[in-house]
Symmetry: C2
Subunit: 747 residues, 2 copies
């Protein structure tokens, strides 16, 4: 089958073998039939081959079976056939695509080449027609007595760029398609890229650009560029195949010869696994929302294990709820107490007269199961399981038991082994940690308690307003994607920042993140991203840390911004909501220190920001405000000794001119324009422009003596992320905003 | 010539064509004849070829000339020769190395292959002997009348790994050797590495490991590993050739076929440039020291342009000198004043009765030249040129003039266009910026004034003790390497941190840095490291910013630690001197938060630190102190709810056991072990061990509420670099210490 034809064919939909994986994938909205080009698929053929392999207890398909599977999904493999006439040969060649090889078929002719019985590289119908005649004539001349059965027509392989197309089944992400260049690039440099299957056309094409050596496909050293659509079509066919048939656990097309005229898989390897994958329990998005809204924004909270005794977790939780200013009902649950901290206590949640939205557990692990049954019977939608002593200490059975109970009674579980959570719009501190009260728009979560404490400390210190801080711990049930679903519709949240070491269900995370990231930025810190780190992760939680490259690519595919460090996560959470959405890619640096300009330019490249090429008229306009020896172009170097007016004039121009989309400021401390003077003028100009309806992202780097710290804080509090003694952090924050805006399709 | 033989030959030293470059290189100590393997070199042959090219006005050598040059330096190119007998053929083949190709030579035989006159891939003397006979017999049979002149023996190329060996002349670094793999790896991925020529054996071998795809050379996909010594020898021969003949400006051996049995350069390209390179003025190291010691530690300072008027630069300089507590003599120079700030003023330095060590210029650019002549006549060894208005504003001639004057009178020039400098051991603030007084061991410098101000602000804010802060500005004369030479022998300095955008003389910098970095860590922030950044650099200073990869590799070759950001430069300068030198590579993480442990492990990998594989007995010893569910191995996860004793016991064990060389602490804020309790116990244990003679690097990451900031500061002030809310910065500081210690050969 000629690869080009795939685009004109249609997927066969007259049967429904669609398995869970594929249905699940449909929810991703990534490869609906409407946006797929039309390809004929023969599912029945594949089903028969797989059934046979299953019946025979095999774990892989044979080479001919692999070829048939490829044929059924329009994956081009080298074609071949026997021609008994020149017309036959031409038809065969046209069917499989040029170039072709012709070989004489005759029992008497063993050394075909010597007999003039082989022609390679025939590139047209005319050449094939002529070639057929030549070969027959040569053979007849070579051995007049030989019986000439005809000519074998084989599609020629090789000559293009060798690439690898593969598929794997990841325990967290499910079906993934892989793409790389053949040879050392994949094997030595690990230059490979992954996407969740199935793929739409854009995703498939993005894989070709997703490798370091992408330029090779565009043609280097005199080579023609490869047929990108053909490669993309093959990637999509593979992705559809593995989505349709989850029992295909691994697949390798290696090598695939990609050329200007198509792509041809020279070798096929298919590994099968008929053991059904255990499915994760996934309520519908509506059910998640219904329960999460009650859990996160409760009107009534029960504290199981509430205590009047200082130093007890149940006492800290009570104090935090009451002193934090929570205005809903608080029900202490205690086996004997009549009253705790002025609130009537109950022996069980079942004794509480009114409804309860969430139960916070502050009792030892061994008592959790029984109390959870009572929570279930009371129809409380959520349990916040602070206690440790479950899977993280080896008590896997204990954790499985509470998960079973939760499922049975429809109680969503947060934790166990967590610090609890904060939801500031409700003044809710359902945690044993210190209370937190700086309200704002950032929702943060952490898998680890230690990182949770770092979030709290940083947030308080940096005056980062937060809407929520949530501990997820062992993630026996409630996972990052449940939080995304809640924060998506939470008007108090504008950015979501998550720390985690693994994703229990990476596919669900990606599915939800892809939708949510269109509306609100999602920043993640994936710990255990290096192999050593991954080892530590598995000793910590027993979780299987995935291949980091898979996380990397899936995050990109889902529009998720990845932080490289804890500080980056925190700075992005703090800074991104301060910035308006940029309207385009043109960034301009305005700096009083040439040296800062150079470092800020470096940081722009590091953070994938585009320094605008300054148009002549705009350059001239800037020059009017700066000394004659100030540097031209971008950075706009206003030089060091300038008065406040020079900063004000150039910043105003930068905001006013519609061709500029974002501004990076480099300030240099001088007596002529002291730090707070600079900070105030920046905010003045910003407000002046805002009144005219102009809002652009502005970030600032301040170089100077210690007074610049106060100026940076003033700027930050007024909407300009600003940093003293750093040229890289402000640009990284702007870069993160851009990454999100691009992913969300806003620029 | 067979590549293996190179190692057994000797460099010819009976002539001295050694040019400046090579002599200069000798000072690097990198390729003395004693450590070079013995290779016969024929300089006369190369000289003749170059003389001819020069006479003919050519800019490149012909292919045959290139081959002769290679021959003269033992660089293997494919050999060939005519054999008139089987014995001839064997001798030729043995001389050039197997495998070989044999071809019949006969005017009558045009189609050699058809005549059976070609044999390829002959791998032994026996095969060649036999092959000679076969070819002669075939040819005679093919055409009995042909005159058979003999058999051409050609060394076979191909079949190995294609690599590229090249040489370039960099305006700053001079002669550099380049190495990369052939094909897309160099062209698309820019996977290439550079070293200063000439190379010693270790440096040449390090180039093979200096590329991303280094593994390829060790044999992948069933290939044999290449002959590393042969490649290293070829790299060294090229490096010696270009050092011996500076007129060879560029050279390409591309491709070189590297195999298990040697390396063969299939194609040679040599570009020549006979215009002599202008030499930079370089005093001897002794002269530099003599002058720099007086400039940096003066007993008498003149302020040219001293002023009593607030707001004048000459006033700020006077105030800083006096209020900073400088105890040497201060001579204000002013055309009219009798006295300035209580000090007798002079019209000219020539009027000052005593000697003067340094003159600080605080006058407009146009008056500098005349005053500098007087400084010269007064035999003052150094001028600190604060004024701007020279090359940075386009006044290149003005700058050339003062350089000429400086040279004429032997006055070293700092600047122009700088903030001046601080040298705290002398309480010397020879600058118009704010005074600085936190004494310590870090010497910092910056090319840019803005970055200088950031250094001052950060240092003050972080209580980083400094010995010196120096502005270098336009670097008309005094350069980074002059500062290195001074700080090397300055007992008040333990670490040198430099920001720069270019190096006027990269070769001198590398030469000095290589020596100094053995004694004291050198950290650099090279701005303009990205192409966008480089563009901004050139618009800022008019300096040619070099290819960043060259800087990267030369820094490594010279043992210089490269900071990736301004904050990193500052944090390294602050943290590295706090840490003792580690005695080995075994790093152990001790953490109260498993989540921090994972992130700290990630950071170890990012910073090239080795997490020690925990020996069983040590693991058992740690386990005695931690709860049964604490994680085994490394990180040592003591878990979150532990009392101070658990931290103290595990840290003590970590310090006591000689197999552990460095410790990374992860603290998690709890009520049981509050932040300051933790901080104090760490220092107590550290001091207890120090009393026993045990000192190891310890760094700490603190996760918790805002109190951890105070604890981090306490730790830092007591010798443990500690950071709140960051897992990456403390590990990066430790990693930088290790990079230095490795480069200096201390571990």
């Amino acid at each position: 089958m000629k690869i080009k034809e795939i685009n004109t064919m249609t997927y066969d939909t007259d049967e429904d073998h669609t398995p869970t994986q594929a249905k699940h994938a449909d929810r991703l909205g990534s490869a609906s039939s409407s946006d797929l080009e039309r390809v004929v698929i023969n599912k029945t053929a594949v089903r028969e081959i797989l059934d046979q392999a299953k019946a025979q207890g095999r774990t892989s398909l044979t080479a001919p079976e692999g070829k048939l599977v490829c044929d059924a999904y329009g994956i081009a493999v080298p074609g071949e056939g026997l021609a008994k006439s020149a017309a036959d040969a031409v038809a065969l060649a046209q069917g499989m695509g040029f170039p072709v090889v012709l070989k004489i078929i005759s029992p008497e002719i063993l050394h075909k080449t010597e007999a003039g019985g082989v022609l390679v590289g025939l590139r047209s119908a005319a050449e094939v027609e002529q070639g057929y005649a030549t070969i027959m004539a040569n053979a007849a001349k070579h051995d007049p007595h030989a019986s000439l059965l005809g000519v074998q027509v084989q599609q020629m392989i090789g000559g293009g760029q060798e690439v690898i197309i593969g598929a794997v089944t990841d325990p967290s992400f499910g079906k993934l398609v892989a793409f790389g260049l053949g040879g050392v690039l994949v094997e030595v440099l690990k230059d490979i890229t992954f996407r969740l299957a199935p793929l739409n056309r854009e995703e498939a094409l993005s894989m070709l650009d997703g490798i370091q050596a992408a330029e090779v496909l565009k043609g280097v050293r005199g080579a023609e560029p490869v047929d990108r659509e053909a490669l993309a079509a093959m990637l999509r066919s593979v992705s559809q195949l593995i989505s349709d048939f989850p029992e295909i656990s691994e697949m390798d097309l290696n090598p695939v010869f990609a050329s200007a005229s198509g792509a041809l898989a020279a070798d096929v390897r298919i590994v099968v696994d008929f053991a059904p994958q255990p499915e994760r329990y996934r309520p519908s998005q509506d059910d998640i929302l219904r329960q999460m809204n009650r859990i996160m924004r409760p009107d009534a909270v029960a504290v199981i294990g509430a205590s009047a005794e200082d130093g007890k977790i149940g006492n800290s939780v009570m104090k935090n709820l009451i002193n934090g200013g929570y205005e809903g009902k608080i029900y202490p649950i205690h086996p004997r107490a009549e009253e705790i901290m002025g609130r009537k206590a109950y022996k069980s949640v079942l004794d509480v007269p009114g409804g309860i939205d969430v139960a916070v557990f502050a009792i030892p692990a061994k008592f959790v199961a029984q109390a959870l049954i009572e929570v279930g019977k009371k129809k409380i939608p959520g349990a916040v399981l602070i206690p440790s002593g479950f899977a993280e200490t080896g008590n896997v059975e204990g954790q499985q038991e509470i998960v079973r109970i939760g499922r049975q009674y429809d109680v969503r579980l947060m934790g166990p082994n967590i610090y609890g959570f904060y939801y500031t719009p409700k003044n809710l501190c359902a945690t044993f940690c210190t209370a937190y009260d700086v309200k704002g728009k950032a929702a943060l979560s952490s898998q680890s308690g230690g990182i949770g404490m770092a979030i709290i400390g940083f947030s308080r210190s940096a005056k980062m307003g937060v809407s929520a801080i949530v501990g997820l711990g062992n993630k026996s049930d409630i996972d990052e994607d449940d939080l995304l679903t809640f924060f998506e519709q939470d008007d108090n949240t504008e950015i979501i920042a998550q720390h985690f070491e693994d994703l229990k269900d990476g596919r669900s995370f990606a599915e939800v993140a892809r939708r949510v990231s269109k509306k609100k930025p999602i920043v993640v810190l994936k710990a255990g991203r290096t192999s050593l780190g991954a080892r530590a992760a598995s000793s910590h939680t027993g979780a299987l840390a995935g291949n980091d490259k898979i996380y990397e690519d899936v995050f990109k595919q889902a529009g998720v911004i990845r932080a490289r460090s804890l500080r980056d996560l925190l700075e992005y959470a703090r800074g991104i909501p301060k910035l308006p959405v940029p309207k385009g890619e043109n960034v301009v640096i305005i700096t009083g220190a040439g040296g800062s300009g150079v470092l800020l330019s470096d940081a722009c490249v590091d953070n994938e920001l585009s320094l605008m090429t300054m148009p002549e008229d705009l350059d001239a306009a800037f020059r009017k405000f700066i000394p004659p020896f100030g540097a031209a172009g971008n950075p706009v170097d206003i030089t060091g000794g300038e008065p406040p007016a020079t900063y004000a004039n150039t910043i105003r121009l930068g905001l006013e001119d519609a061709r500029i989309h974002s501004i990076i400021l480099g300030y240099w401390h001088t007596i002529i324009t002291p730090p707070m003077t600079f900070a105030k003028l920046v905010i003045e100009v910003k407000e002046e422009m805002k009144a005219k309806g102009i809002e652009k992202p502005i970030v600032a780097s301040l170089a100077g003596d210690v007074e610049v710290e106060q100026a940076a804080e003033y700027l930050y509090q007024h909407g300009v992320p600003a940093y003293a003694y750093s040229t890289e952090i402000p640009v990284a924050v702007l870069g993160a905003k851009y990454k999100w805006a691009r992913g969300a399709g806003l620029i």
